[in-house]
């Protein structure tokens, strides 16, 4: 969908922190990506690779940490949302999970309350590993 724009923002966030820390090179990036974030991780990596060419982040490893949707209910239940899907296609799984959530699935524990989504949509640049000069 909008992987290019997101990759651009990731790049800017990475470069900002890298230059503030006098990095000579960005080695790797840990990115938390919610399974419901409408972002295809392969496309995101591909776009990032292109954007980062000829910069400090050229060739950096973009590690995608996939975050499953987690729901929380008033009754105290908190757990990973299971989209009752045996499909291994990411897109299908994402669609199922989204529509189940949108269709007001009751809490699996108490069955009378609607849990809220507390994670699973993040696109979060968590941290980066950089190389710095010894005397910097």
């Amino acid at each position: 969908m909008h992987e290019y724009g997101v990759a651009m923002e990731v790049y800017e966030a990475v470069m900002d922190v890298a230059s503030k820390n006098d990095a000579t090179r960005v080695i790797s990036i840990d990115l938390e990506l919610g399974e419901l974030a409408h972002i295809n991780s392969e496309q995101l990596c591909f776009c990032f690779e292109i954007i980062a060419k000829e910069s400090l982040a050229e060739g950096a490893d973009l590690n995608i940490i996939s975050i499953p949707p987690t729901i929380k209910c008033k009754c105290g239940y908190e757990g990973v949302f299971d989209s009752h899907s045996s499909s291994n296609s990411d897109d299908t799984k994402q669609c199922r999970a989204l529509s189940d959530l949108a269709l007001n699935m009751p809490c699996p524990e108490c069955e009378n309350s609607m849990p809220v989504l507390i994670s699973g949509r993040e696109i979060n640049v968590r941290d980066i590993k950089i190389e710095v000069e010894e005397n910097a």
């Binding site: 909008h2 724009g5 990095a23 529509s99 696109i123 980066i128 590993k129 950089i130 190389e131 710095v132």
Partner: protein
């Protein structure tokens, strides 16, 4: 040389949310009510905004932001109605975001405005995740997209306060039940308002205008 791990903590959607809140406060400061008009491609977003401008233009100051992937086609339609219009070409992007809108509203005569219509890019998925700084979110679908349109894209209906099922004049011709589309939206989001409209017969247009006026007056 040595390696160092540094925290970044930058979340793309949260960053957008923060910027959207800033836009909202700016609009608040000028007493402007913002409407984010989302919906399927060709469902009638521009038409419904044009109708609103025709009916409310004498009473309220209205401005529009038109999000088109390329060209200025929708923006030109708004300009024909003599309202301040900013065209946002999103290029390859499939949604408006708060950053684009921030730059657009900087150029608008907010002190002469009461209403800002933000026509999003025709897409039922991507705009869902990106607030612009609007006060009300409206989703427009039309019968020509087919009966199952709503069920296939539930999330957007969950985040909107009004769904408009447009082009009901041709419902029979395309063999689609407009009531089912409205009911599906209500099933997903019981709090959503639902209208069936047609620019041809005029059905529902008064209710659309009323929705806008009630919400604008409520904030004055």
């Amino acid at each position: 040389m040595h390696d160092l791990r540094v925290e970044v903590g930058y979340d793309v959607l949260q960053a957008n949310e923060a910027l959207a809140e800033k836009n909202r406060r700016l609009l608040d400061g000028f007493g402007v009510t913002g409407f984010n008009i989302m919906g399927a491609i060709g469902s009638g977003k521009t038409t419904l905004i044009e109708l609103a401008v025709e009916k409310l233009g004498d009473k309220y100051g209205i401005g529009a932001i038109a999000g088109d992937i390329v060209a200025d086609i929708d923006a030109d339609r708004f300009r024909l109605h003599d309202i301040p219009t900013i065209s946002l070409n999103t290029g390859r992007e499939c949604h408006l975001d708060a950053h684009l809108v921030e730059h657009a509203i900087e150029q608008m005569p907010l002190d002469n405005m009461d209403i800002l219509f933000m026509e999003n890019v025709g897409n039922l998925i991507c705009p869902t995740d990106y607030s612009l700084g609007e006060h009300h979110r409206v989703v427009v679908v039309s019968v020509s997209e087919g009966d199952d349109m709503v069920k296939k894209h539930p999330m957007i209906f969950k985040t909107c306060s009004l769904v408009i099922v447009n082009k009901v004049d041709i419902a029979e011709a395309v063999d689609v039940d407009a009531d089912k589309m409205a009911d599906d939206a209500l099933g997903i989001n019981p709090r959503i308002g639902a209208l069936k409209t047609s620019k041809i017969t005029g059905e529902g247009i008064d209710d659309w205008i009323k929705f806008i006026e009630v919400n604008v007056n409520a904030r004055r």
